[in-house]
Symmetry: C2
Subunit: 359 residues, 2 copies
């Protein structure tokens, strides 16, 4: 087991990475203020992992409330959030009850937001069971829900007590979701870590095959990269925006296609290629760089061609994005592999050309 | 105009107290990150004060969005919260849009919670128009909404940029609501400030008559007392619980009677007399102390007799309260006038006696 410390002052917490961590209550017990937890999971994950997590806790004298939600991004909304609140209130959960998120990013975001807001804040622990959640939503404290008018519009910054990233849970992950997680792994290389990018180019077959050591290292280094960015910019005012490479375009894709039709990581991959296309048009990336980016996404079984929505629809959807500053759309673009920048200083014509074509 | 600084490190903010502050945009402009505000108010306050606040801002070049909600505690729920989110999203409000709460405690709590959670946090300013909101919800950063199973169950701690307590707005306040605000003012004297309590005993007629100097001083000293408590205990783990004198009983009364039937301050007054009754049964207050407390509440036109719900219903409703620690109901009780304590160390029989009778 490897452990990474996310340094955030008095909100610091460890991420444990390894195989079969779920069944080890010693990783959780030290963080409980009271021997009561509410495990929040979904109908897909519950039959696979809920009792593996819950039973050892019960055997250690912990009272466990189970909250099983419907599965899918479409349920990341206020109605599902209310199901969590209802369960907590019906069980008279108090400020020292710990919420445990067992599942992917949707479960993590919903549970973290419920923890941030139930009784104005209760402790929570994340047990991410998808690669995406392990390398992305387990670091950074972003929690929240979608709104009919936009993704992640309602939320809070709220940090967990501890994160358990159990590699064994990836064995039941559908291949599309594994690929979607790899999109975010690749992103860390692209934005700030060319050595990691090149390591990923060499090791993609082993990652696809779920090799334990290689996957553990990829998760560790991804979380480390994200933690370094978040540590200097917890509230997303500056450098943290780099983590949104491909996301402004990607959110527009997800929104237009209907949440859940494209997986988040798939939209990020195609969105990153749109950012690459715009960067190339600005003269910041070579054709060779763009090809290399397309190659690694393809090796990870990810889409590199965005849907043709037309420029107008893209712009409209992108205008709702949180990264808009004073009405000007700032984008994360590439100035070489391993170096992203956040900038509003790009050519509007070039952006239109990128949005108008399948790049 | 008097100004009190609420010291909370990098979340410190000033409270300005005086007459006719609403129409002075210079008190607001320095805090805007961008010249755009969304003023959230209700159907009662809007015709009285919305344009007095909005027009001078517009004249100063600020874009003003108006969000007018239905009035009443019954609307402090997720449906009304969504009306705020909808307005912000429809107007494409961004992270540098400032929310302004113009109204009483319900508007402040709803708006503050919307600000805490919209795009994971936008700035907000409070312009409380009731005495209760000026002396209570304008200090401490508590925001949130009710849930069908309990009051204030969902929320966040979130501080405003600045608070404007405009005495002139109290002239249109119904007399029952003025009295409800005085319940909280009296509370500060009871829990920690006997000098203020005695000043209030002498000045109650002038407070009832809305004398400007006397009312300004009462608001200033109330906020100062609350700010001192909150400064050492922002997250409500210890001393801050003293502020809940009368509230555990009071919330049970509000809940049982239906939110909004008893005003919050009325329930707190009667709840404080229940706490006084229990304190007397424990030998911590004299009969004379209890009479003195009843006299000041009566002078402020407040009820001192709680509804007879029966002990069982009181206990049931109190069990849901946030102040429950490990299943044991901790209460704020009196050990003399000007000295409250938070304790679970009272006699269960005495509590039952208090709950079983009109005290």
């Amino acid at each position: 087991m490897q452990t990474l410390n996310v340094a955030l002052g008095d909100r610091s917490y460890p991420i444990h990475i390894g195989r079969n961590l779920l069944g080890n209550p010693q990783l959780i017990l030290p963080y409980l203020k009271r021997k009561q937890v509410a495990i929040v999971t979904n109908t897909t994950v519950a039959p696979l992992y809920l009792q593996k997590l819950a039973q050892p806790l019960r055997d250690s004298g912990v009272s466990v409330i189970e909250v099983i939600l419907p599965d899918g991004e479409a349920y990341k909304n206020s109605e599902t959030l209310n199901l969590i609140y209802d369960a907590l209130l019906q069980n008279r959960c108090e400020r020292n009850t710990t919420l445990v998120a067992l599942g992917g990013g949707v479960i993590g975001d919903l549970t973290g937001y419920a923890a941030a807001t139930y009784l104005r804040g209760v402790p929570f622990i994340q047990v991410p069971t998808t690669l995406l959640a392990q390398v992305d939503s387990s670091v950074g404290g972003k929690t929240g829900i979608n709104h009919p008018l936009g993704k992640n519009m309602i939320g809070a910054f709220y940090q967990p007590q501890v994160v358990l990233a159990d590699i064994a849970t990836l064995e039941t992950l559908p291949s599309r979701e594994l690929a979607a997680g790899l999109a975010e792994v690749i992103k860390y290389g692209l934005i700030r870590d060319i050595d990691f990018f090149e390591w990923l180019e060499s090791n993609m077959p082993l990652l696809n095959a779920l090799n334990t050591d290689v996957m553990s290292y990829a998760i560790y280094r991804s979380c480390q990269n994200k933690a370094e960015v978040v540590a200097v910019d917890e509230r997303e005012s500056g450098e943290r925006a780099l983590l949104n490479l491909g996301h402004t375009f990607g959110h527009a894709i997800e929104n237009a296609m209907g949440y859940g039709v494209w997986l988040h990581g798939e939209a990020v991959a195609a969105g990153t290629m749109m950012a690459a296309d715009l960067s190339r048009r600005m003269g910041w990336l070579t054709v060779g760089d763009v090809s290399r980016m397309a190659a690694i996404f393809k090796a990870a079984n990810l889409p590199v061609t965005p849907p043709d929505l037309g420029a107008e629809k893209y712009l409209d959807l992108m205008g709702l994005d949180k990264k808009v500053v004073d009405g000007k759309i700032r984008l994360v673009l590439q100035q070489g592999i391993g170096k992203s920048v956040v900038t509003g200083d790009y050519d509007a014509e070039a952006l239109n050309a990128t949005l108008s074509m399948s790049c």
